[in-house]
């Protein structure tokens, strides 16, 4: 087990090193540097930038050394917790990214807090009796909500609850300080989009367990239905959903970009998109590394958890 985790962590470090080197090399091109220079110096077009100004700017920013030298310096910085400085916001990346990650973390927390109980309950109710009316109803809702892309869900929810009923604001920029009402729509969008998938997986797992021999034995033995479900079926039926839920952590980093941009919520996804559109190398670099880190960690949690929860694997 420890060896497995160690292997995966080693692989993660390798992947992160490769990825960050590639990003440094990519954003080292003249085109990108000129683009940033123009954006920062306040010019109008790349062609209007004089070579002298450009060289001076490169010199000031320390960008005129080859990218591998900058890369080594950057790696040294990462070791000491310094992720460089944002070109666009002129702020240390560590602080910027930290703030944004906290915001996204709050969003993700509420999404998980609502999505996990909802999807597990619905999945189990649907999977208890395969083909029954409630199974069909839950499956239909799950397919429907998963088919609506986040952007469409966001729009429909905004139109109904913010523009029509005016219960919550349509914009989540939190300009006037923290306001939980602005969090409602982003969280609802992500939950609605995501719960269908987890529900379907839980349902499939539950349905499979319910057809197994030991459940039949328990029913024939005359155990009460409630006991069969709670004590016998659930234990096995919840192993597969656990892995799926852990992997949703990875997915949420993708899903969060659209939702944050649409609702103007100042989180990780919006930071990444803004940085990418601006060409803000150090921010992109740091955000990508965080994304890869979270993705790999969620995969490890899912793998290890599955092995740990499943006695057939644990004791073999």
């Amino acid at each position: 087990m420890l060896k497995l985790i160690g292997n995966r962590l080693l692989q993660m470090v390798l992947i992160m090193a490769v990825v960050s080197l590639v990003i440094f090399a990519i954003f080292d091109s003249d085109k990108f540097k000129r683009q940033i220079a123009v954006a920062e110096l306040g010019g109008f077009a790349v062609s209007a930038l004089s070579d002298q100004d450009y060289e001076a700017w490169l010199d000031r920013k320390g960008l005129n050394v080859p990218f591998y030298e900058r890369y080594l310096k950057w790696v040294g910085g990462v070791m000491t917790g310094d992720l460089g400085r944002s070109f666009e916001k002129n702020e240390p990346v560590t602080r910027l990214l930290g703030d944004r990650l906290v915001n996204t973390g709050i969003l993700a927390f509420w999404v998980f807090a609502l999505m996990v109980p909802l999807s597990l309950t619905l999945g189990i109710i649907a999977g208890m009796r395969e083909g029954a009316f409630r199974d069909r109803a839950v499956s239909f809702i799950a397919v429907l909500t998963t088919s609506l892309p986040e952007i469409a869900t966001a729009i429909v929810l905004t139109v109904i609850f913010a523009l029509g009923l005016q219960w919550v604001p349509a914009n989540s920029a939190m300009i006037n300080g923290w306001d939980w009402r602005q969090l409602v729509l982003p969280v609802m969008t992500l939950v609605l989009y995501d719960f269908g998938y987890v529900t379907r997986m839980t349902r499939a797992s539950m349905a499979e367990v319910m057809t197994s021999q030991y459940i039949r034995t328990a029913v024939l033995k005359g155990l009460p239905h409630r006991r069969v479900i709670l004590r016998h079926a659930l234990r096995n039926a919840l192993i597969a959903p656990f892995t799926i839920i852990a992997l949703q952590l990875n997915w949420i980093l993708s899903g969060v970009v659209v939702v944050e941009v649409f609702f103007q919520y100042a989180g990780f996804g919006k930071l990444l998109l803004d940085a990418a559109l601006f060409g803000d190398v150090y921010v992109i670099q740091a955000a990508t590394l965080v994304a890869v880190f979270v993705a790999v960690i969620s995969q490890i949690i899912s793998d290890v958890g599955y092995t740990f929860l499943n006695p057939r694997i644990r004791f073999s």
Binding site: I15, I26, I151, V156, L163, F262, V294
Partner: protein
């Protein structure tokens, strides 16, 4: 020898009844006519959307003429062959609704989707001598016309991107599975690197580097989807490559490439087709989302993601919410169609 000859020409055989004529519809359901119909529908549409600028105006429209009957015929064939699954028929109907619209839209009596007529005109209002059935957007362009034209780009780029991702993914998967050894090591490592990115982060990085355009979306989708496809195909290949008929092919001295494409690939067909339907949905979502984020298809031509992006800045009022709702519901219906199709196909493949 003699007996063979006798069998071949029986001396006084009773007159053999001519085989009952196969109905046309049944004949069209065979793979080859189906493929011909698909190509007849697809090539004109793709050429018209991707290279319409080079073709010029009348040619760009008339090239779609053969695709129109092909699409209708294909819809009938699809409904007939999948009629045992209601879900699949509903899905196919949704997808083909948009396909037929995509092919037929130049022949419909619509106004130019890029012509500003009357800004912020509501639904069903007549203004400046034109009836706006679905209203007009912020620049006064007819929404009905824009929504119907918009499906062309989403469909063409979405399917092209998925197709390219599948060709690349299948090839790599077959190589990793069949050739094994260091091929497998290298391909699997690259796939692992790409799979450890959240998809949207990968899209943003690639499109930001390459620039925003349809062709670059194809490349980005390939990078994001091919590793997952490769894993599926690799698993299936590892499973089938120990079968006897593969050994037979090896003994016959067939080239590895031939074995991969003619012996191994057909066996992976079932799971791949179901996965392809789902992935078409994902790609459609991705293209719409990326266009919304400003990394995808470029204005001014109508496109659903673009319509959302433009309207999101100004339409945050109940009165103008149709500008957001119409493209959002259109894209949802297309994706629902793909997903239901995948569900129906899976159901049917499980049944037999």
């Amino acid at each position: 020898m003699a007996s063979v000859e006798v069998l071949a020409t029986p001396p006084s055989a009773p007159p053999i009844a001519a085989p009952a004529p196969v109905p046309l519809l049944r004949r069209l359901q065979r793979p080859r006519p189906c493929l011909a119909l698909l190509l007849l529908m697809w090539i004109p549409l793709t050429v018209s959307v991707m290279f319409g600028g080079y073709l010029g105006d009348p040619l760009r429209t008339w090239i779609l003429l053969p695709a129109l009957p092909a699409t209708l015929l294909l819809y009938v064939v699809a409904v007939v062959s999948w009629r045992e699954s209601t879900i699949a028929v509903v899905g196919v109907s949704l997808v083909f609704f948009w396909l037929i619209v995509a092919v037929a839209v130049p022949f419909l009596p619509l106004v130019d989707p890029n012509k500003p007529l009357a800004p912020f005109t509501g639904i069903g209002v007549e203004k400046n001598g034109h009836l706006f059935l679905l209203g007009a957007d912020l620049k006064g362009r007819d929404m009905l016309s824009r929504v119907l034209w918009g499906c062309q780009r989403v469909l063409v780029w979405g399917v092209t991107a998925t197709l390219v991702a599948y060709v690349v993914g299948c090839m790599l998967g077959l190589m990793a599975g069949y050739l094994a050894k260091w091929w497998d090591q290298v391909i699997s490592f690259i796939a692992n690197v790409l799979l450890s990115f959240p998809v949207m982060v990968l899209f943003i990085l690639i499109l930001n580097y390459l620039g925003a355009s349809g062709f670059n979306i194809v490349i980005a989708v390939t990078f994001a989807s091919a590793p997952a496809i490769m894993r599926i195909v690799r698993g299936l290949t590892l499973d089938t490559k120990t079968r006897d008929y593969i050994f037979a092919a090896q003994t016959r001295g067939e080239h590895p490439l031939r074995i991969m494409i003619y012996e191994l690939l057909p066996n992976a067909r079932g799971p791949i087709i179901v996965d392809a339907c789902l992935r078409l949905g994902y790609t459609t979502v991705a293209i719409t989302t990326l266009t919304f984020l400003g990394l995808g298809l470029q204005p001014p031509d109508p496109d659903w993601g673009l319509m959302i992006k433009e309207a999101a800045k100004v339409a945050m009022l109940w009165k103008f919410s149709y500008m957001l709702l119409i493209p959002a519901l259109s894209v949802s219906s297309l994706i629902l169609g793909f997903n239901l199709m995948a569900d129906g196909l899976r159901e049917m493949s499980l049944r037999d």
